[in-house]
């Protein structure tokens, strides 16, 4: 049990007071805010956030901000380009000795999935290509949350959104952003979820030690967008991991490693049935074919994962 004890010890290492300010306008139970506050505790206050349009744009509405450092708002497609400008400016200041090494800041991009999986992809690709030293945090609530949960490139197959109704929900498939990012061979890519704070903290710590492009996707359970009671946010995030829907993994040194392989893997249905956006799969009649298809997709993913 020594490994487990070590783990418990590490849990006690998680911060008990928090850097991110209270009083933000995010929804009660927002899984994205949960992930952000856990990330910020590890990342620290010597950071600048470059934020594309989305729910989290509302974090910093003059004169209020939950951050302890600067925050820059960019157009939806351009946050990584904004980060390039901030990084360049810091580098010039360092070179001119107007900023000391100790005063240097970590440049962090913060966007939703709409930006990360969609219109921000080319700016991200360019930033990785230029080997920009930055951290990208995408909170993935699987839709355009701020504007009323229209579908995005991150919306899972069969989910109901404001723009995908009917008995079969969203006809498309969730884009594999992890694989797209990894294909660029950046310094670090990881998936996290606020419901697994220890896994998240370790990954952010690791990313902090590295330089170059470091990209994180946080699954962000969203009570109004996904249709569930805010108190269930953590349970739903945890179920996403335990059913295998949201694989926790990282890419470093040219290899992909799964950091938490669910044993035994719970049926995907347990995750789906807790969310209003999948209610049409269960009522008025169970859609056995579609449920089996969703399960098969997850099974196929894990079949190619070597343990």
């Amino acid at each position: 049990m020594s490994a487990r004890e070590a783990m418990i010890k590490r849990m006690k290492d998680l911060p008990s007071t928090h850097l991110l300010g209270t009083g933000t306008p995010m929804c009660a139970g927002c899984g994205g805010l949960e992930a952000l506050h856990e990330v910020y505790d590890v990342l620290g206050e010597n950071s600048v956030f470059v934020n594309a349009a989305g729910c989290m744009t509302l974090l910093s509405v003059y004169p209020f901000t939950p951050f302890r450092g600067s925050w820059l708002y960019t157009a939806m497609a351009s946050a990584p380009a904004g980060a390039q400008g901030v990084r360049d400016a810091l580098d010039i200041l360092l070179e001119k000795k107007r900023v000391t090494k100790a005063e240097d800041l970590e440049v962090a991009v913060l966007t939703g999935d709409g930006a990360a999986y969609g219109m921000g992809l080319s700016a991200t690709s360019g930033a990785i290509e230029r080997n920009l030293d930055f951290l990208y945090l995408c909170y993935d609530n699987e839709g355009y949350g701020n504007t009323g949960q229209q579908y995005s490139g991150a919306t899972p197959h069969a989910a109901k959104t404001a723009t995908s109704g009917g008995p079969r929900g969203f006809a498309g498939y969730k884009k594999d952003l992890f694989a797209i990012w990894v294909a660029h061979k950046p310094a670090y890519v990881a998936t996290v979820v606020g419901a697994e704070p220890l896994d998240l903290a370790r990954k952010i710590e690791k990313a902090k030690q590295l330089t170059g492009p470091r990209l994180i996707i946080a699954l962000a359970p969203c009570p109004p967008g996904w249709g569930y009671d805010p108190k269930d946010s953590v349970d739903i995030g945890r179920l996403a991991v335990r059913t295998g829907v949201w694989p926790l993994k990282e890419y470093v040194d040219g290899k992909v490693v799964h950091t938490k392989i669910p044993h035994p893997r719970r049926p995907v249905e347990e995750y789906l049935s807790k969310q209003g956006r999948f209610a049409h799969l269960f009522a008025p009649k169970r859609n056995e074919a579609l449920l089996a298809q969703l399960q098969a997709k997850v099974d196929a993913y894990w079949a190619q994962v070597s343990e």
């Binding site: 007071t17 306008p25 946010s233």
Partner: protein, 310 residues
């Protein structure tokens, strides 16, 4: 022109109520504006929506400052200054509150000359964020109080706006709206049209002239960390988590790590403390606490026990 303002919490359906009433007005041949106030319309947060209706084209824009009818879906908002429920009310304004307390109690409490009516929920929910039919009831009551919208138009508007919902849900909404419409029968037409306001009478606020300056000076920079603590999101809460310290096992991190809002801090001895000025009442801590040491109390009961938080 009729100017109607709906107040509620995010999730109580005030935006839908304004649309239903707006559509009903439109069906009666009125020119109509209906809109929610755009912003962070989060669940539990105070929000408002408004409707303007007139036989003539409407040139007024923006939020309604002098309402003829104010409808409040959640009576706990009346005392919340940020909700602005009483803003611009005069003795001619009709105030309708979804409340179990009597109009006299409210008149006394508010020291108001206005016509005050109440429309109690048929049952008292534990969680005030769960008032799924309040929107329909408020719109139905408004139609009757205005006196210019017959039930048939109201019902048609309601069915049109809710068309995407399940049939049973639509029927419950119709029934609730109809009940509210009928309850308000004795007060039919008590809302009178407000005066037309001419742009010529507009008195600008006392603007402060700001000279044109370089961005370094004029940009809206924030010079202190974490200023968001000044925003009291505790007002959104409809349920209150309360820690039973006898049962809390000082696990150190569960409630504090999971609270999305950084509203639970743990001291050196491992004792968690909830910051009620900012806790939004998501109840994740209640669901996650391993020894189930956190209880749920309806916020209105908690405040009543504290002797009413005015």
């Amino acid at each position: 022109m009729y100017r109607i303002r709906f107040h509620g919490r995010g999730g109580q359906g005030m935006k839908t109520a304004s649309r239903m009433l707006g559509s009903a007005f439109f069906a009666e041949g009125f020119e109509v504006q209906d809109a929610p106030r755009y912003g962070a319309e989060r669940r539990g947060a105070p929000i408002f929506a408004y409707v303007r209706a007139d036989r003539a084209p409407i040139n007024e824009r923006g939020i309604i400052r002098q309402p003829d009818l104010v409808i409040v879906a959640d009576d706990s908002l009346v005392a919340v200054p940020a909700a602005g429920v009483l803003g611009g009310m005069t003795s001619d304004t009709v105030l309708l509150i979804n409340s179990h307390e009597s109009p006299d109690t409210w008149r006394h409490r508010l020291n108001a000359q206005s016509t005050i009516l109440v429309l109690p929920e048929p049952f008292e929910p534990e969680d005030h964020a769960e008032l799924p039919y309040a929107g329909a009831a408020c719109a139905g009551a408004a139609a009757q109080l205005l006196g210019v919208i017959p039930w048939a138009s109201m019902e048609q508007a309601l069915r049109h706006e809710l068309a995407e919902l399940a049939p049973a849900v639509i029927e419950t909404n119709v029934t609730r709206a109809r009940t509210a419409f009928e309850r308000m029968e004795p007060h039919r037409g008590c809302v009178r049209e407000g005066r037309a306001v001419s742009a010529a009478d507009y008195v600008p606020p006392n603007w402060v002239e700001v000279p044109f300056e370089a961005a370094r000076i004029s940009a809206p920079a924030i010079h202190a960390p974490a200023t968001s603590v000044e925003v009291k999101t505790g007002l959104w809460r409809t349920l209150r988590p309360v820690i039973d310290y006898d049962r809390c096992s000082r696990c150190w991190w569960v409630c504090s790590s999971f609270c999305p809002d950084s509203a639970i801090n743990v001291d050196a001895a491992g004792r968690p403390e909830i910051d009620y000025d900012h806790c939004k009442g998501c109840m994740i801590c209640v669901a996650q606490c391993p020894p189930h040491a956190i209880e749920t109390i309806p916020e209105h009961d908690a405040q009543a026990a504290e002797g009413g938080k005015e």
